[in-house]
């Protein structure tokens, strides 16, 4: 119905408009808090294309990938184990729910005290926050495997290895992906918060430093970088999910 290139025109209109408004509204700005957009973009291209990327973007991304990666591996393994053992999962449920709803940022001061300031602490905090959505969603997904698939696996005497990796995990993957989406959001937030409190490199640290030195254009440029990173990570996950769960969409069409 709508041709491929035109599909991108309408959604792009509003952002372009907003950026234009920002540009013109801030052109002659003397407010220290809202410098002209032209200045911000100038700083942005100076700093982030690509001078400061290794120093600040890479460490932040490393924290996120490490933290999220560990959460995914731990969350899925534990989730499968617990999901297959429904009794234990139900018994542990209140504890897991409490840990899930406990804001991980509340653990930040404690983590700094115990582990110090460094990437270890940041990754730990990310895992402490990002583990739960994946874990709980995996448990959920595993527990809702259709009984018919269980029958098929048992009557065909499918090996445990094949059962877990070729039946249980794929069957639970829609829920697991939903958990990963939530965990990604948590990871980005915790990365930033932990860098605000305890870091010497990273985007959060950069933004904070810029604020302390009242370098507003720099600070704004850092905020834009973080916005782009957050969005890009979400899009990447969405694309992965799109392909990994194609079977799920199509089998329900």
């Amino acid at each position: 119905m709508i041709s491929r290139p035109t599909r991108f025109v309408v959604p792009a209109l509003l952002p372009i408009l907003l950026v234009a408004i920002w540009w013109f509204a801030s052109t002659g700005s003397t407010s220290i808090f809202f410098p002209p957009l032209s200045e911000i973009l100038e700083r942005f291209s100076e700093l982030w294309l690509f001078t400061l990327v290794p120093e600040h973007v890479v460490p932040s991304l490393q924290s996120i990938f490490l933290g999220l990666g560990i959460s995914i591996v731990l969350g899925i393994s534990l989730g499968v184990l617990l999901g297959l053992n429904g009794y234990v999962a139900t018994a542990l449920n209140p504890v897991l729910q409490f840990l899930r709803y406990l804001p991980a940022v509340a653990l930040l001061p404690l983590a700094i005290q115990l582990i110090g300031i460094g990437q270890d602490m940041r990754v730990t905090i990310i895992v402490l926050g990002a583990l739960w959505p994946i874990l709980l969603n995996t448990i959920d997904g595993v527990r809702s495997i259709p009984p018919s698939l269980v029958d098929v696996a048992r009557s065909n005497r499918v090996r445990t290895v094949d059962w877990v990796f070729r039946i249980v995990i794929p069957s639970a993957s829609p829920q697991i992906f939903a958990g990963v989406r939530a965990s990604l959001a948590v990871s980005v937030i915790l990365m930033f918060a932990s860098e605000l409190l305890g870091a010497s490199r990273g985007i959060g640290y950069f933004i904070l430093e810029a604020q302390r030195q009242f370098s507003l254009p720099e600070m704004w440029s850092g905020m834009i970088v973080l916005g782009i990173i957050g969005y890009a990570l979400n899009v990447a996950l969405m694309v992965i999910e799109h392909y990994a769960l194609a079977w799920h969409r199509k089998s329900r069409a």
Binding site: S148, V152, S155, N156, R157, V158, D162, H248, S251
Partner: protein, 276 residues
């Protein structure tokens, strides 16, 4: 049909099963000889599924035994394969059909190429040649059920147990699949135990029909079907002895539903009436 002294491939010996207070199966016994096509027929809700789960060792039983080649089984055995009613929920939608069929074979030490070859062979046997690259949801209901049957065949079982396998497909597809099963039995010599509520289907397919009825369910009759191995959807179903068998079994089911046994009419060959 008298056989040699060989043990029956599948034997149910006095199977009883209750769920809590409710007794579902009471003393169900029957046997299936090698290469025999046995149909278990009974009204919905009788406990056919419970019996099937007992036979395939998917469900536990309170008393009695299930035997394969004379040996008792307590867990799903290698000699037995099950085809379920709901094909849409028994094939994994995230795998292509070929991989679905190969899945049970992974437990055996077999090179991947051999597995793939067996899978293709099974697909040929059910008339789905070249379908191995399709996903289950890309196929019609009839094709999916054929794929499920192919998965059972690739497993090279001695006995195939089928749980109302054709209840969810249209009449034409059902006729095709029925003939497919007869073909598989005669070409590959598999023993087949098919559970159904459709009397017509039971008599058409079976060498013998086991009537399961009553509350709790038991074998109210075992009816031999002497219609020969060559069956045809039109010809066989218009034979007078076919129609008589159908009517007899129908009456038996109606009668046990209202708690009285009919007199066996002269034409039918009864090989035993279970306790009630």
């Amino acid at each position: 049909m008298e056989t040699t002294a060989a043990k029956p491939v599948l034997e149910a010996v006095s199977i009883s099963k209750s769920f809590g207070e409710k007794r579902v199966l009471a003393d169900v016994s029957f046997s299936a000889e090698e290469g025999e096509f046995v149909c278990i027929v009974g009204p919905s809700g009788t406990g056919k599924t419970t019996l099937l789960r007992a036979l395939s060792a998917l469900g536990s039983i309170d008393s009695g035994e299930v035997r394969i080649n004379g040996t008792q089984i307590t867990r799903p055995p290698a000699e037995l394969s099950v085809v379920f009613q709901d094909y849409s929920r028994s094939l994994m939608p995230w795998m292509r059909v070929g991989k679905n069929i190969e899945l049970p074979l992974r437990r055996y030490k077999m090179p991947a190429a051999e597995r793939a070859e067996r899978s293709k062979e099974a697909l040929r046997d059910v008339g789905l040649e070249h379908a191995e690259h399709l996903y289950p949801w890309e196929m019609s209901g009839g094709m999916q059920q054929r794929a499920a049957i192919a998965r059972s065949l690739a497993y090279r079982p001695e006995v195939m147990i089928m749980d109302e396998p054709f209840a969810s497909v249209d009449a034409q597809t059902r006729a095709d699949l029925e003939d497919l099963m007869l073909d598989i039995r005669s070409r590959l010599g598999v023993t087949i135990v098919l559970v159904t509520h459709d009397i017509e289907e039971a008599v058409y397919l079976g060498d013998k029909v086991i009537v399961l009825s009553g509350k709790p369910a038991s074998v109210s009759a075992t009816v031999a079907v002497p219609l020969g191995r060559d069956r045809d959807q039109i010809a066989t179903k218009s034979r007078p002895d076919y129609l008589e068998l159908r009517a007899t079994i129908h009456e038996m089911i109606m009668a046990t539903a209202s708690s009285s046994l009919p007199e066996p009419p002269s034409g039918a060959h009864l090989t035993g009436i279970g306790s009630r």
